[in-house]
Symmetry: C2
Subunit: 354 residues, 2 copies
């Protein structure tokens, strides 16, 4: 079996289909079903179907069309000699969806193979090497009941996944063994685990706030709106998020959030006193359960001796009072912004016990 | 020459260095220079150097260390028989930086090869297939003076790059031919080109506003702060951006931006009347040259018969009046948000003639 991705697009340099046809010794044929699917997709999107898009409706004779529910380029399955070839689009989300919904069932069906059982624990606030260090003896420390399990790590900045793969899914003890491993991982690094499998960081934050019946207002500076974007990646976030303000200039920290001028003059905008006032101010302005504020130096410029690039102050205001944290990030501008936005939402997540 | 990336990290499943040592028949040796570089990097970042990180300081005997200025995993160059092997980290930004600053010079030096001359024109608002359609005969339409040029496309959603590759950089006519091609591309699709080479969309917007001496205030709803994040990806954005508000709930569209209650009741939040009032409101609140507003239905829920998921209204308010556009996006929640944020900034870019 050969599984590949990419080169199915409409442009001159997309040549996968042509290459498969050549290798299989089959002519390319216009497939009316593929053309109709393209027409409908373009009509729905209100785009014009250009002649080069029609190219995507040509498949090698005898090939099976794999529907692309996420984009325009259909995939295909075709035999080349003894080899069964799958071609998927190169756009990651299109490829992933096609692999799960089309390729895996066809492989199960044709080869009688069953995919491994996979469980991932999604973490924030602990690095990949520290994870590996804390979990190095995991597979020796837990009774695997003879199951063949492997442990993997996957970074999707700034979160890290711990992935358990159990290679004999047929065994009835398999789910029990995965549960036991998950329990041991949570015992060791539980406070960093925000969810399992497809649960994103945003999903976890929004779900925890919903469970608590709480709302969150955001006052951002160096993140520019990224914390609000992150929170609203989860559908349903409107139940917990009503207002964010991006007070990039100090004048608006004062005018909209009521940060005292003395605080800005004495401590500056990147300070504990400033983010605490911002958090209280936005909480009050929004009438929210929590107000979270971020102010820092994302870089590359703006750093100074006592406050280098990457310095970020964050605060969470609640009815009972204000919590403050300070961080020092070592990355480039956009990654420093991303880390700061994640830490801001993590403050709320911890507060509601998510 | 074999160039590869990935598997240089600190965890158990990172085995590239070990594999190269095995294939080269060389033992792994602790390299004090690599260890020292790791120590310094961790100290600067305020992180703890765990024992498994030290693994990254082991290299096959005789290998050349390739410094990683962007992360912890050093790269390496080692001969295996007749083959010169380069190993780079898998993290894209680390890999790209190492390729440009370490691998290319070594290749030039050892092989006397010169990298091709590359120019890219970065576009927004025109799809890859339409680009291909408009530029299909480009290389026939322009006098290449015998140069070997190829044309490529690269999508980085929602922007698209047109890439010109000229394969004999030594020729003195090379830059002239690239200029001529660029001119012809601009003649055909100029209004979609926002910059060349490493100029990002944010860079282009911020630069154009700076040139015009203009400031931009943002009133976001469905984008949740993403337009502000996008604008502030460019360093120096504080010169043109002072305030953004994310009025996710209608009450704040009314209270902070002065959207009349009748507008919300009669037309709803996703309407021309609402975004026009939001844009005027945020422009006034911020005292900015331009106010740009976004309100739409990002999905997956919230759509209705007359206003399906993907409907987005946008407006730009200036001293002279208000411009409105409506769009219908066919993607998932986060990509609809991203497109809306880009269209919002594109409104400002067009306004200042960028």
């Amino acid at each position: 079996v050969l599984v590949m991705s990419g080169g199915l697009g409409p442009t001159e340099d997309d040549r996968t289909t042509e290459a498969v046809a050549l290798a299989a010794g089959q002519p390319l044929e216009l497939r009316p079903d593929a053309l109709e699917a393209l027409r409908q997709r373009f009509a729905r999107a209100g785009y014009e179907l250009t002649p080069n898009n029609e190219k995507q409706a040509y498949l090698p004779r005898g090939a099976t069309l794999l529907e692309n529910t996420q984009g325009t380029a259909p995939g295909l399955m075709a035999p080349i000699g003894q080899c069964l070839v799958f071609c998927m689009p190169g756009v990651p989300r299109e490829m992933k969806s096609m692999f799960d919904t089309r390729v895996v069932p066809l492989l199960e069906n044709r080869l009688g193979a069953r995919p491994a059982l996979v469980r991932s624990l999604n973490t924030f606030g602990i690095g990949e090497s520290k994870l590996d260090h804390r979990l190095a003896d995991l597979l020796q420390a837990v009774d695997l009941e003879g199951c063949d399990v492997s442990l993997h790590y996957r970074t999707s900045f700034p979160t890290n996944r711990v992935i358990l793969v159990l290679h004999e899914p047929g065994r009835e003890r398999a789910p029990r063994v995965l549960d036991r491993l998950e329990q041991e991982i949570r015992r060791r690094i539980g406070k960093h685990v925000f969810g399992t499998d497809e649960t994103s960081f945003s999903d976890a934050v929004v779900a925890a706030l919903r469970r608590a019946g709480a709302t969150l207002a955001l006052a951002e500076s160096c993140t520019g709106g990224l914390a609000g974007d992150l929170l609203t990646r989860a559908a349903g976030s409107s139940e917990v998020f009503q207002l964010g303000v991006v007070t990039y200039a100090n004048a608006f920290k004062e005018r909209l959030l009521g940060v005292p001028r003395e605080v800005l003059q004495t401590h500056g905008a990147v300070s504990q006193a400033c983010v605490e006032a911002m958090a209280r101010g936005v909480r009050e302005l929004a009438g929210a359960t929590y107000g979270v504020a971020i102010s820092g130096i994302a870089g590359p410029g703006g750093g100074s001796e006592g406050r280098p690039v990457g310095t970020v102050h964050l605060a969470l205001a609640a009815e009972e009072g204000v919590r403050h944290v300070q961080r020092q990030f070592p990355f480039d501008r956009q990654r420093n912004k991303s880390l700061a936005a994640h830490v801001a939402l993590a403050l709320a997540l911890r507060e509601v016990g998510g």
